[in-house]
Symmetry: D2
Subunit: 300 residues, 4 copies
């Protein structure tokens, strides 16, 4: 059910993280250790920000397994970026096609998801209905993950990133409950606007997919003791991963259950992630009012 | 903007129609003569019915151009069928992916479309809303064509095939008019339930894409004078094509504007195709009522 | 390093073997139990013979993993054949492309290989040189497996199938030894001319990849107790597999080391497989003489 | 039969040349004006050099038509390079696969070809035999173009680029003549080692595919009057194209028949391209001697 990596810090080549670590994401595409599925071979994607083009992130997605994609090796050896997100996919049923590969993108946002919306095929129509009509035609694939992203955009990702995701998740959970689904949401999320990198670990049942963040620059340097790029890294640089890239003890901090982290210049933030039941009612009203073809009232 | 072919009659190899004619569909993928675009290289598909499996049609779709797909040559040389539909795609903007390739399929139905719903990106949400919620999760791609197919299913394709398509088109036209779109629908359609082959030529503006049907067995035999398969064909056998497969005069009858034809055992039928403005109001009501999350009242 | 299945007998749908067994080949593409690699996700292929076209086998190959290829499900549910071979690939380094997917085909022959020619990148030029110049341009991919197939064709596959493969293997072993390679050949092979199905288990070191054959009709019926197709099978019908399709005890016979089997109408055959060192000198002479641009002396 | 573009000069985004011109290469993939084929939809590739990695060029190749590849748009909008070559393919028969897409690459070299080796399927074995055995396993595809590249490498591309290509072409012509082929070589070539950009226009019959070079910075600025990137270009910057990117008179100089050009810092060079018959005998000896498994005597 997917694995992902994200980087925030001084510009590095994408391959440093994707290929040149002990248990890299590419290795995880064949042999995940902590995932529900050991094989993540249903496509992949990588998105990145460049200083020259900070509000229009680049992206490369492919339906090939990451381990055998010749272009990925080349591109990751030539593209250097201060922020990037990479994702390998194991489909839970939807088609293997580029438009279903993460990261999803809208404006300056990139978004990756590991997990599942349980009962999505039952809820899909209702969830899509709640998406801001002005955003609707931006949905090009058919996954639960992309729908969740568009719900987060609808709920104000631009203005209040963590809050918007909390409201989107609350809406999915409320919708799921009306269909008798016990645990609608299972997720770790990574997303960025090119300025900050956000990561969330959450599930309705409180048993979420694994998520780790590197502790400090020493972490990264320990991964690459001979790499001159890493030797100049500082404690501002961070890696977020679905599962550790090495067996070195002490370098990976597990993100706690129901927690959001914000990685940014200056001090990072960590806060509880609490989908609030009150918010989702706005969403329901939102969906209803939009049926007349008007844009929904901004949810907040 | 796409080309298609369909066959109804005694079982023949698919390659007889797709490859072994003077101006075959494969040739049209590179050099269409009558199409809006000369190149139809954005994927293709072929669907067929077999006597052993009459209600579960087979399908092969690919994002490769038809002219360079090695599998298509092999498969069409080995699959024999009494009814099949083949389609080559030139996208009008949506992604090149298998789920956007025709024929679309639901239950025993196969469906191909040449043309466009003008302003689809504006209307998409409203049109998808009008699809029966019980069918909604069957939509796996993002094209105007697949949405039109699901609207036709919603409006009763099983019970009244031509009527259901008339009502679906009427609904699209009504929706388009509310957005100020002058000519919302441009189409030729081919669809089948495994018993009959239906073809429709229609456009809101009354200037539709070309569509032709073979006159009689002599037509097909003239295309393949040395082919023993064709020499045993009878006047029951029919070919429907976006553009003629040969320059032979007199063998291809142009389907008139705003016309539906039904090809079947016994006498074929031809009738006017008239999207009736009265019907689409049911659809509008349908869409509105469905916003509360309930299934729409069956449109008839 | 690949897995394969082959069937010989009364016509059955390909899906009966590929999808509808307890531990099917498709399941093995994700979770092989006996293979060197657990994942076989670097493309696949299936080839089959039809009574209507017995000397021109059909083939479908794809670079997608078998487990997520939508077309494979459709095709295998609609194609019925008395003989077919299916193969899932785990590349040992060569490109993931259709021309590297098995089965390879030449004239009426289909050929699949599980294993490796050790040191192939060192020997490739010499091995290709030994291929009959008249056959050379038929090589369209870059694998060791295809080269082995063309060597077998060069050494007389048409006239003496098992003997030709023995001579081809002897030549590869002799060539490998000149480069100091200890164990040049590791293989199980499946091949057919549309009349008989051949299978070989062999490796230079005498520790070959696994290979099994079904014992009798009861075997297949035990796999599919409720399947009417299988209930009418007879003891003529055989399945050959890289690893068992079920845990049922007693139904799968392991093919012994260094053994070839011939499955055919009437009694099947089993014989030792012995690459004879004497033969390979002819091959060396063959390669040398061909450098002047002449066709090699037929190896026998 | 393919089209290509190359750029040499100050770093620009690849999209400036590939997408943002009046009659861009992407436009030519659908509607070539001067090509033998109007459609070049059998894959494409782009290779580039970066200042950070001047001896290991990057590359992106795909079997999709260039016009519908979503990744190409993204990548070319984010990759900036002082030298790059882009190629769109129309196959003359060999498989549509990434390993057959240009540019081919070996070490620091990138190489693109428009044209054909006539009778290649007859000559392929002989031509491949003449490739330096130490280079042989680098050939991963099956095209005439890649074989020509490896012959040029064999004949000393590193030491004497234009001379090596002359000798390679002389060898192909000599080989072709032994098979009665009248006009074995038809080509325009573009190649680079990251320091210089080379372009050749040549055919045995003296009627070569078109090739043009931009005259000076004013040329490029005229293509992009409003583009700030181009306004700072100098007369050092050059574009080489199979067919002009605009209808502006006077900006495109046709490269004469049988001519090689060298674009570099300082004054560019132009010289006759003369495959010398004397050289090819070395090649013949080369091929013969290599049959014993030894490396050929360096051709010079």
């Amino acid at each position: 059910m997917c694995r992902w990596n994200a980087f925030f810090g001084q510009p590095i080549l994408i391959e440093e993280l994707l290929f040149r670590t002990q248990h890299s994401l590419i290795d995880q595409s064949l042999h995940s250790r902590l995932g529900v599925e050991t094989t993540n071979g249903d496509g992949f994607g990588v998105g990145w920000y460049t200083p020259a083009n900070p509000t229009a992130p680049g992206r490369y997605r492919s339906v090939s397994p990451a381990w055998n994609d010749a272009n990925l090796r080349d591109l990751s050896a030539h593209i250097e970026a201060p922020i990037f997100l990479a994702h390998i996919r194991a489909t839970t049923g939807t088609a293997v096609q580029q438009t279903n590969c993460h990261p999803f993108r809208h404006g300056r946002w990139l978004f990756v998801h590991n997990g599942v919306i349980d009962g999505f095929h039952i809820m899909q129509r209702e969830l899509m209905l709640a998406v801001d009509p002005a955003l609707f035609s931006g949905i090009t694939g058919s996954t639960d993950s992309e729908t969740l992203f568009y719900l987060a955009l609808t709920y104000g990702l631009d203005e209040d990133p963590i809050g918007a995701v909390e409201r989107a998740v609350a809406f999915v959970e409320a919708t799921g409950r009306t269909h008798g689904i016990e645990h609608p949401v299972q997720m770790t999320l990574g997303f960025s606007d090119g300025e900050r990198l956000y990561a969330v670990r959450y599930s309705t049942e409180g048993r979420s997919r694994s998520l780790f963040v590197s502790e400090d620059a020493a972490t990264l340097q320990a991964l690459h003791p001979d790499n001159p790029r890493f030797s100049r890294l500082t404690d501002e640089d961070r890696v977020v991963v679905s599962e550790p890239l090495s067996d070195l003890p002490g370098v990976w901090l597990e993100v706690p259950e129901s927690t959001a982290i914000v990685i940014q210049k200056g001090a990072d933030e960590q806060r509880p992630f609490r989908p609030s039941p009150g918010d989702e009612r706005l969403a329901a009203g939102n969906g209803a009012s939009s049926t007349a073809g008007h844009a929904p009232t901004p949810p907040r």
